[in-house]
Symmetry: none
Subunit: 368 residues, 2 copies
DNA sequence: GGCTCCGGTGAATCTCGCC
DNA sequence: AGGCGAGATTCACCGGAGC
């Protein structure tokens, strides 16, 4: 762990803070966590979960149910924790919030109003939802998660290749199918009852954290409950900070997380995207003699050709410029990836120049 | 049609009103329509051009009607049309609104603020969404629909048994899977281009109207576009009132609806009986238009025939029920596999309906 | 006629780092 | 902070052409 400095104050990593989540978040340094996962109370009628701005409890349910008063109270509650969450998040950080139709529209609107930039809404499709017993509506078989960056310009983390690989080689969609948390995964309290009414499945957090964090990142969960976020973060080599008001939940979560064995470093490595690999200038291929100045390149479709010049640019048909510029000019396209566009001949075969770039990158890896 | 009285003023049934939807709705009598389906502008806020990896350009939704100065301006627009919608809706009426993450949270919050009572949020899962071409986010593969009654105490319409029957004997869930509107269903304008950038699939409206209206009900669509709501309502024996500002859309919608052949009365009756529980929803074949309500099926031996109803059940010779029940009744057998028993005609040939089920299963496999 | 191949396209808030 | 240039990036389906 780095020594505390004014620039990098100590974070209570891998611990569970007690008390109100707003106060706890405000006790953390600003711009300090990479990701927030928030599973706030859904049910507008669970008034015990709600607090007024002055932190007093909202009155208990009485005979006269005023839904507008309750919506207002819920909005206040949302504004308070979301403001604190915004403050503690790094500029390039992101937030996930999960909810149902009771609260998610208010949460989503608040996120936008506060300047968060929505990246996706993701639907958790439950394979085994609770049926609608009265037969008066559709079976409520999903919940909604909103993924948003701190601002429109945030450079948020998204492990595209990892998600694509996990989805059999095609892009991961915005609908995720998982069963509810049941069986042995479902935590029991000392009385043998289910410990928490809305414990989320670890599979959900697993995908979410692999998608939008990197190993070593700090994940904050202001409504920690029985600590699913902490358990999965620990397993995946991410740090967590939990906040939970209820002593019983904190206790259960701590015991649960203590049993988690982190995955080995090797298992945590995800498919690297090409974007993350070091840049190799085309000129280096010429400098190293992998390609000769004067040698001719052809487009993959065989329709165009160009000559390599000593400075690593191409020329042909009156066009000069980088491998990308000449390719784009030939194709009349706004842009072109010259690395995959151009080919050269070796031993009678047509080979993409990208294979030469890959050779250089492999050498660079070996040197580390 | 009933004679106009002070209690039941004349409604412009089965017509398309022109002009601004707020003014048009305010010109209608209050408390007069059974259902509203609203597909308002999404306020996409697209920035620049987007190209596919093959350098072709994506045809963006950059129409003037989707441009708003700010979130505040969009909220103002939403408040205005929603207030007018609330007024024109019967006390026991309901509303559907469809949107994406750009606007749906604001729409949902506005619905709640105005006293609408959310019954479900429904996810339209697209089997064939547009990919995320830059690999920067999850593929945006769904849209969200909110179903809400006018007030908490509204006695809204929900054809539970029809939905259950269409879902092959188990409760209909809140996630609906349909392809985008493409191919011949997609309307073209006089110039041969797609007539409207956001035409919704008829299958979506089919399920929605069967679920939450009865034959003879009045369905209002304040953002009529090319009239999918009117076409499906007409086919299903519901009245529609459309409102559309653009002359070209009104013209195309009118031509489209004029071609619709309403289903026979018998095909429209919704199921009230319980059914056995088979595995793959026959109703989906109807919703998707693979089989047409009113179309005749014949038994493989050619001795029996039955007609398809809009909710995915069959009727004939005084028998009503699932494909299995009707087959069993005809054969005097205790049970019958309707999937292999029933056949339909395509291009002069007799084809088992099981081939259609297989098509859907193939899609489902591909989606997981 | 049937099959394969190929081009087109869909409500999309769709790059990043250096100078 | 804005401009510039490198270079990374797509899935399911429909329909027409061609064989």
């Amino acid at each position: 762990m780095a020594r505390p400095t004014p620039e990098a104050p100590v974070l209570p990593l891998d611990t569970i803070m007690s008390g109100d989540c707003v106060a706890a978040m405000n006790a953390l340094p600003e711009n300090s966590v990479d990701l927030i996962f928030a599973d706030p109370p859904y049910n507008l009628q669970l008034r015990g979960e709600l607090h007024r701005p002055d932190n007093s409890m909202v009155d208990a349910v009485d005979d006269h149910w005023d839904q507008f008063e309750s919506l207002k109270a819920y909005d206040h509650f949302t504004d308070r924790w979301m403001k604190a969450a915004h403050r503690v998040l790094k500029p390039d950080g992101a937030i996930w919030v999960i909810g149902s139709y009771h609260n998610i529209f208010r949460v989503g609107a608040s996120l936008q109003d506060r300047g968060f930039w929505i990246l996706n809404d993701v639907v958790w499709r439950k394979t085994n939802p609770m049926p609608n017993f009265r037969g008066k509506r559709l079976t409520n078989a999903h919940e909604t998660m909103i993924w948003a960056s701190k601002s429109e310009s945030s450079k948020y983390t998204f492990n595209y290749e990892a998600m694509k690989a996990a989805n059999d080689g095609v892009q991961m969609r915005s609908d995720w199918t998982f069963p509810l948390c049941t069986g042995h995964e479902r935590l029991k309290n000392a009385r043998g009852e289910k410990a928490h009414p809305t414990q989320k499945p670890e599979a959900l957090l697993h995908r979410l954290l692999v998608a939008t964090t990197n190993p070593g990142d700090v994940v904050l969960d202001p409504f920690f409950g029985t600590g699913t976020t902490g358990a999965v973060a620990t397993m995946l080599g991410r740090h967590f900070i939990g906040i939970e008001r209820e002593e019983e939940y904190r206790q259960l979560a701590a015991e649960r997380i203590a049993k988690v064995r982190p995955l080995e470093r090797e298992a945590l490595e995800t498919t690297t995207s090409k974007r993350a690999e070091p840049r190799v200038p085309f000129g280096q291929l010429v400098e190293r003699g992998m390609l000769r100045p004067g040698e001719e390149l052809r487009s993959g479709n065989g329709r165009h050709r160009a000559k390599i010049r000593a400075d690593g640019t191409l020329t042909g048909d009156g066009v000069k410029g980088s491998i990308h510029q000449v390719g784009a000019a030939y194709e009349g396209a706004p842009s072109c990836n010259g690395w995959t566009y151009w080919h050269f001949r070796r031993e009678g075969k047509s080979v993409s120049i990208d294979t030469l770039r890959q050779q250089i990158r492999d050498e660079m890896v070996k040197m580390n």
